[in-house]
């Protein structure tokens, strides 16, 4: 058995996400789904997370480490993997909210790339958002980010 296996066994096991990481992870994937995080998308994400009561109890340091950890996972494993780890951790009552915020981030630059369309569609399925509700949310975010 390699020498570090015993020691690193626990450390290497990726921790499961809670709602805080799940929510932020989904939004980070939304920012990165066209291959990079644009300035506007990054700014939108920070603004959105900074306003959420969900994160009120975290100190700026804790908040920063959480985001760093998520960015690390994103860089190493790509958005799809981060998303698959994040969305199951979002509790049902936060699913509509995270979807609305993700769509807002994707549309923040006033454009929608093919990958972004696909990612919104995929996210709708993963979060089990009803078709009609998803359409209303997307329409409102198009209004918001138009012009």
């Amino acid at each position: 058995m390699p020498v570090f296996d015993d020691i690193l066994n626990n450390a290497a096991t990726p921790e499961r996400f809670g709602p805080l990481e799940g929510f932020a992870g989904v939004l980070l994937c939304a920012s990165a789904c066209d291959g990079h995080i644009g300035d506007e998308e990054g700014a939108s994400m920070n603004l959105i997370l900074g306003q959420k009561k969900l994160y009120e109890r975290l100190t700026p340091h804790q908040f920063g480490s959480m985001v760093d950890r998520l960015i690390g996972l994103l860089k190493r494993g790509g958005p799809e993997r981060l998303l698959n780890k994040s969305y199951p951790a979002v509790p049902p009552e936060l699913r509509g909210r995270v979807f609305a915020n993700a769509v807002d981030i994707v549309l923040a630059d006033g454009k929608v790339e093919q990958e972004e369309r696909e990612s919104i569609d995929g996210l709708k399925g993963k979060l089990e958002i009803d078709e009609k509700r998803a359409k209303t949310i997307v329409q409102v975010m198009v209004y918001k980010n138009h012009g």
């Binding site: 700014a43 306003q51 006033g110 409102v140 209004y143 980010n145 138009h146 012009g147």
Partner: protein
């Protein structure tokens, strides 16, 4: 007739607002409609404006010029009069966008004051937004800005 009337003839008493000013004016009025502009509201206001193609070519000095002019009108005449001035010259294709961003701003701090509710109702009529569309916009943004 006043002695200067002949000299002032042909000069407008107040310069008309531009498209950019009218858009920013509506959002500024939304931020200020409960009597003060909270941090979250001013963040949302600036983020919304900076994202817009409408302001892409504006440098900091021009942007500050717009805001100073609008703040002057706001202080002198109040948010309702500011909206009235803006609606006069408002580009039709941006009405839903302005309304959506105004609702987003009043919901930014997570509290909806009576003055804000009244402001949004009156803005809906002034911009000619259909009741059903206004309702969808409000519902989605309540979901988005919750907690």
């Amino acid at each position: 007739m006043g002695i200067f009337d002949a000299i002032f003839q042909g000069m407008e008493s107040r310069t008309k607002l531009t498209r950019q000013e009218s858009f920013a004016g509506i959002l500024l009025a939304a931020s200020a409609c409960d009597g003060h502009v909270s941090n979250d509201e001013s963040h949302q206001l600036l983020t919304a404006l900076f994202h817009m193609k409408l302001f892409k070519r504006f440098n900091e000095k021009q942007f500050n010029g717009v805001m100073n002019k609008l703040l002057g009108v706001l202080k002198k005449s109040g948010p309702d009069a500011l909206v009235d001035g803006c609606v006069e010259v408002f580009p039709k294709e941006l009405r839903s966008t302005a309304f959506t961003n105004a609702v987003n701003i009043v919901l930014a701090d997570g509290v909806l004051e009576t003055e804000e509710r009244e402001f949004i109702n009156s803005l809906k009529s002034k911009l000619g937004i259909k009741a059903s569309i206004a309702k969808s916009i409000a519902q989605v943004l309540v979901i988005k800005n919750k907690g």
